[in-house]
Amino acid sequence: MAAVHETVETVKSVDVDAYKYGFVTDIESEKAPKGLDESTVRYISAKKNEPEWMLEWRLDAFRRWKTMTEPDWSRVHYPKIDYQDLYYYSAPKKMGDGPMTIDDVDPELLRTYEKLGIPLREQEILAGVTTSRVAVDAVFDSVSVATTFKAELNKAGVIFCPISEAVHSHPELVKKYLGSVVPVTDNYFATLNSAVFSDGSFVYVPPGVRCPMELSTYFRINEQNTGQFERTLIIADKGAYVSYLEGCTAPKRDENQLHAAVVELVAHDDAEIKYSTVQNWYPGDSEGRGGIYNFVTKRGDCRGARSKISWTQVETGSAITWKYPSCILRGESSRGEFYSIAISNGRQQVDSGTKMLHLGKNTTSRIISKGIAAGRSDNTYRGQVFAHRKATGARNFTNCDSLLIGNRCGAHTVPYIEARNASSTFEHEATTSKISEDQLFYCMQRGLSAEEATALIVNGFVRDVLQQLPMEFAVEAQKLIAISLEGSVG
């Protein structure tokens, strides 16, 4: 209830077209020369003092990338990206390269995070209103600036650090798992990421350990014309559990910025990974100028029996989103879940969905997708459910609802369903609806403005999915929903 009210508050307090997170932090940064060739890859690797095997891995990816072409099968349209016109590495300058404590962090950076509402300092978290405990690994452009709660996690045996650090401290784990879920040549953007990834989070939860707190990364794209290529790798060993939150914001920019992240999850026997994303990158202005291109590859591998991976996403930002968090259900009786809220407004284009690949016996999956299109945006759900010949007893339930606001937007549902054995059961439900005049009038008669009414109705529409989010995230998500729907009515 409080959250709904806050939603309503937020709608009122923000101007149309004013992207709340549109500020630029003025700090010096160190960049690789513009453009992309082998020397860029070497530069990035050298900056991170990477061992030879890591450099080779990158170079191999780069050589393969040069032979690939950009995919064009999604519904999104955008001007051709000039890959030579981007910076592939950018780090805040004062920080040097090695690990550091919070006190080494540029105060300007800390202020940026404060503006974003991220509790970087442990004291702040502990002094917070709620008793929630979140460990934050903040990525500012390409480098992880600080990792909190490390000590306590260490005690539990949980490894949570920037991936650039894990390459040095846990090379055996990185070697074993990196690229094992999203192969280097998986797709154009994943291959590019493999060549030039800058940083990201690494998580390893040992057998039988329940991670004592939610882990979180906030991404922020600050530097102009910098592609962001995070690489996240999360491993839950046998019987382990971890919940990971990813939040993103980027300052307001005129030029489009490329974002091509790769996230790999591995769940062994009886392990569970819950991965939640709230993505509110700059969507561009109402005319479609500027905004982030978000081409992301996220995939989870339910490698072990009875393992479970669950993706929850709230996507309100980016000019273009191209994203399909997926599950490979390899282990017997493993389970994959995908809960999604995707909101598009203005000229945003969203092409998102999931893939559930049932390979093991008695594997189950569940897909709940809520797409909301407003303004002149286009919102496509694209989902694949596949059962292998050997995946007997596989079951999927898909529910895919679209809500249209106004009549200049579009919603599309593109399901691909394929069962190669007779004992699989796939259920698919889909609806498309509009907010009716009757509903709006009813709410307004009770005192809500048209925008407040819309936010309320939309929050009702996405309720099933919001309930999947950790509490604090759900509140933030409700606010974002309200903000992203500004100017969608009237």
């Binding site: 209830m1 005192g447 309320l456 009702g460």
Partner: protein
Amino acid sequence: MLEIKNLHVRIDDKKILNGLTLTVKPGEVAAIMGPNGSGKSTLSYVIAGRQDYEVTEGEILLDGVNILELDAHERAAKGLFLAFQYPIEIPGVTTMTFLKASLNAQRKQRGEAELSTPDFMKKVRAAADKLGVPQEMLRRPLNVGFSGGEKKRLEVLQMFLLEPRYGILDETDSGLDIDALRIVSEGVNALRSPTRGFLVITHYQRLLDHIVPDVVHVMSRGQIVKTGGKELALELEKNGYRDYVTEAA
């Protein structure tokens, strides 16, 4: 005072209200009766500020101020409440959430502080008890799957919570069982006060047995064709509308 003066309204070229004039004074309960399709619900929508209707002539004054230029939510904050003939379902939004959002939206427009959650809960409980609305219902999505009578009760509960200056009840009695009719009427009567007015639209005398009106208006073809005391309703019950319908032609 709620004054409707010479109101002409149409929708898609169809004239529905034809120079309707009507006044509801503070402290007064005015009943409107009239045949199906005579424009009673249309009148209530237009007063509340529904957009698809075109007001071609006339005005609606709330305490002397023309409200025709105000949006529906602004009129609500000024104290206009409409209990709908057909309440609307809002999936996924729990009734409780909706009640709190509306109450605070109105308070905010009026520059009043928001109600804290405990204060709000207290208020809702009191209203729910009074109207025999089970708490469990308030946790369900608004009006979704509610029976006809439950929806009507909830409309009155909302009126209780929002404490309007003028309440318009559009056939709130239809769908109510005998006990509910009594409970809801008692609720409305409890709200009666020298500063609050009601416009009660109904087809049946039985509601007016419980909520005794000060005046009764007969509406036909978008006009008030007859005004009288509470005995007028009894007469209509006996003779129907034939005398008045021809009069209006």
